[in-house]
């Protein structure tokens, strides 16, 4: 048994220690926000936050995880009470098919927690590990800028708990 700290809750997981975090999130915890894209750390669809940093969850074996805080897109807010980043993505209509978006949001969240006012260049460079071929790239950047403004005006609202760096 390995205990994982996901979105502020402890979960005892019965799985092989080499199991990727992504599989445990989706198959054991029914947290389906993180997506399986390539399984090789090439596309970014599975990105979650670990110790406050964005990581590819398909590459992280759960044996690396005891006592380390994990945050998924579900930890940013709920349907009824979306967090500022989620609201910003909705308001900018930044998803086309949306498959890659939870991963992008988690990397954006990690950026905003370190750098509350990123420039457009910084946002683009930071999201570089994410592949997406849809038509909303400019909206994604705008949504992240909007979230940055909102978070500055109302810090800590709906961010889904604390994170550690």
């Amino acid at each position: 048994m390995i205990t994982l700290q996901v979105n502020g809750k402890a979960h005892a997981i019965d799985a092989e220690p080499s199991t990727p975090l992504l599989y445990v999130l989706r198959d054991h915890l029914q947290l389906n926000g993180a997506k399986f894209g390539c399984g090789l750390g090439q596309c970014g669809a599975c990105t979650v936050m670990l110790d406050g940093r964005a990581v590819f969850s398909c590459l992280v074996p759960i044996s690396a995880l005891p006592d380390r805080p994990i945050k998924t897109v579900e930890g940013l807010g709920t349907l009824d009470n979306p967090g500022p980043l989620q609201r910003a993505f909705i308001e900018e209509q930044a998803a086309q098919c949306g498959y890659c978006i939870p991963g992008m949001m988690m990397r954006a969240q990690a950026l905003l927690e370190r750098n509350p006012s990123p420039s457009i260049t910084e946002i683009k460079a930071h999201l570089q590990p994410h592949l997406c071929r849809c038509g909303t790239h400019m909206r994604i950047v705008r949504a992240i800028q909007r979230a940055a403004r909102e978070m500055k005006n109302a810090p800590a609202a709906g961010t889904g708990g604390t994170t550690r760096r």
């Binding site: 220690p17 090789l40 670990l50 110790d51 940093r53 590819f56 074996p61 690396a64």
Partner: protein, 435 residues
């Protein structure tokens, strides 16, 4: 501490170095020579030599115009910003005469007579031939002029005082020309010339003293570059497979030697440059370096063959892990992490159609080096070709592993895939590498 004592020594010496040595005259500014005044063959030759000299790597900022400088070069003493070597008259070398350019290359003094910091490897470029310096001048003076002023260097007092460089030169630098060994073949002579002069391989692959000067007696016996270990290129090479002129040529020219791997870290841009340099020159460099390295010994090659067989058939019980002196708990932890994070690509027989085969770890140079530094850097930062270019790729594991986990992984990989003794102080190396 040693560096502080060294700097003090430099200050003392500076106070006794004759003023005549420290002071250099200025060359008068010239009107920028029109591009048409240069011989096209010299420009072409200069372009190829600039690739071997790696000029673009230091003299181009991230995302900046080629040769316009402004790249921060981090040294043990502080940060030096590379200068603009495009022919812009105000901020570049547009008003430099050929004589001024030659003096900079040969003596490390700029047009105005100021001493240049030895981050610019004039201790190597001084050995370049007249013709090659002339060709480089022709090439650089026919680039597009770019207006770009280098930021001021960030060096602590008293290192920000350029006359101090005169003392450094007095101790460690002598203008000299390359002297060929008449007993050598033409190819080895050419290789030795390029390696020692424009190629400035020793700038990274030769260890340096506390004042940042290369230890000449330890030529190419392994140094440091941007926080990476630059492997030994002489008898001290720890490569599991012996390098040959052919394998080195493929590594330098084509970016992959099947029995060794790919250029990574600060070597990656060197490989990209050499892919476009003159073929004969790359061959000459490969032949010369190979001549310095340990010859192929059947006994060692068979030892590596046997090691690979034992790794592929662990039931034979002969794998390194079983015999390793490393802490068993780290080995177990490292193995679990390897199985979960690395094995999918790196285990033999698994190939990635999209990015080519993953590095076969028993042949990894990084696992055989005296420290785990390069391994830690590769795991943390991954492998990526330059923006927009094709090339080998590995994801960055930054943030995935804790320092302790990364150390366990390094300990396990060294024990599992090599017959080299366990690394010491892995934890310290990890902490420093990730700072």
């Amino acid at each position: 501490m040693k560096a502080i004592l060294g700097v003090l020594l430099l200050v003392v010496i500076a106070s006794v170095v004759p003023l005549a040595f420290a002071w250099r005259s200025a060359f008068d500014p010239v009107d920028p020579p029109p591009p048409a005044s240069f011989d096209s063959a010299a420009i072409r030759r200069g372009a190829q030599l600039a690739l071997i000299g790696n000029c673009n790597v230091c003299h181009t900022a991230a995302g900046g115009a080629a040769y316009a400088g402004q790249r921060p070069v981090h040294t043990a003493f502080g940060t030096i910003y590379s200068t603009n070597i495009t022919p812009d008259p105000e901020t570049g070398i547009g008003r430099w005469s050929e004589a001024a350019f030659t003096r900079a290359m040969r003596e490390g003094v700029d047009r105005r007579g100021r001493h240049l910091y030895p981050a610019f490897p004039y201790d190597h470029f001084t050995k370049a031939s007249d013709e090659d310096v002339k060709s480089l001048y022709a090439f650089l003076m026919t680039r597009e002029p770019v207006r770009a002023e280098a930021p001021a260097n960030e060096l602590p007092f008293p290192l920000n005082l350029r006359p101090l460089i005169a003392a450094w030169k007095w101790l460690f630098f002598e203008p000299s020309r390359f002297e060929p060994d008449p007993a050598q073949s033409a190819e080895l002579t050419r290789g030795a010339y390029l390696v020692r002069s424009l190629g400035h391989c020793g700038a990274c692959h030769t260890p340096r003293n506390v004042l940042g000067a290369e230890k000449k007696a330890q030529f190419l016996s392994g140094g440091e570059a941007e926080g990476w270990d630059a492997p030994a290129l002489n008898a001290a090479s720890t490569s599991p497979r012996a390098w040959t002129a052919d394998s080195l040529y493929r590594y330098l020219r084509h970016g992959l030697a099947e029995q060794h791997g790919i250029p990574a870290g600060p070597m990656a841009p060197v490989g990209h440059n050499l892919a476009a340099a003159a073929d004969d020159d790359v061959r000459a460099i490969a032949s010369y370096i190979a001549s310095l390295m340990p010859a192929v010994r059947a006994e060692r090659e068979q030892g590596i063959d046997a090691l690979i067989v034992s790794i592929q058939r662990p039931e034979s019980g002969a794998t390194g892990v079983a015999q390793s002196a490393a802490d068993p708990q780290s080995l177990r932890q490292g193995e679990l992490l390897y199985q979960g994070a690395c094995a999918f690509c790196h285990d033999q027989g698994r190939q990635l159609s999209s990015s080519g085969e993953a590095m076969y770890l028993p042949l990894s140079t990084a696992l055989y080096l005296p420290t785990p530094r390069n391994l830690i850097r590769i795991v943390s930062e991954g492998i990526a070709p330059p923006d927009g270019a094709p090339g080998r790729w590995m994801p960055a594991f930054e943030g995935v592993f804790t320092d302790e986990q990364l150390a366990a992984l390094a300990i396990y990989l060294r024990a599992r895939y090599t017959d080299a003794p366990a690394w010491t102080n892995v934890g310290d190396v990890v902490r420093k590498a990730r700072k």
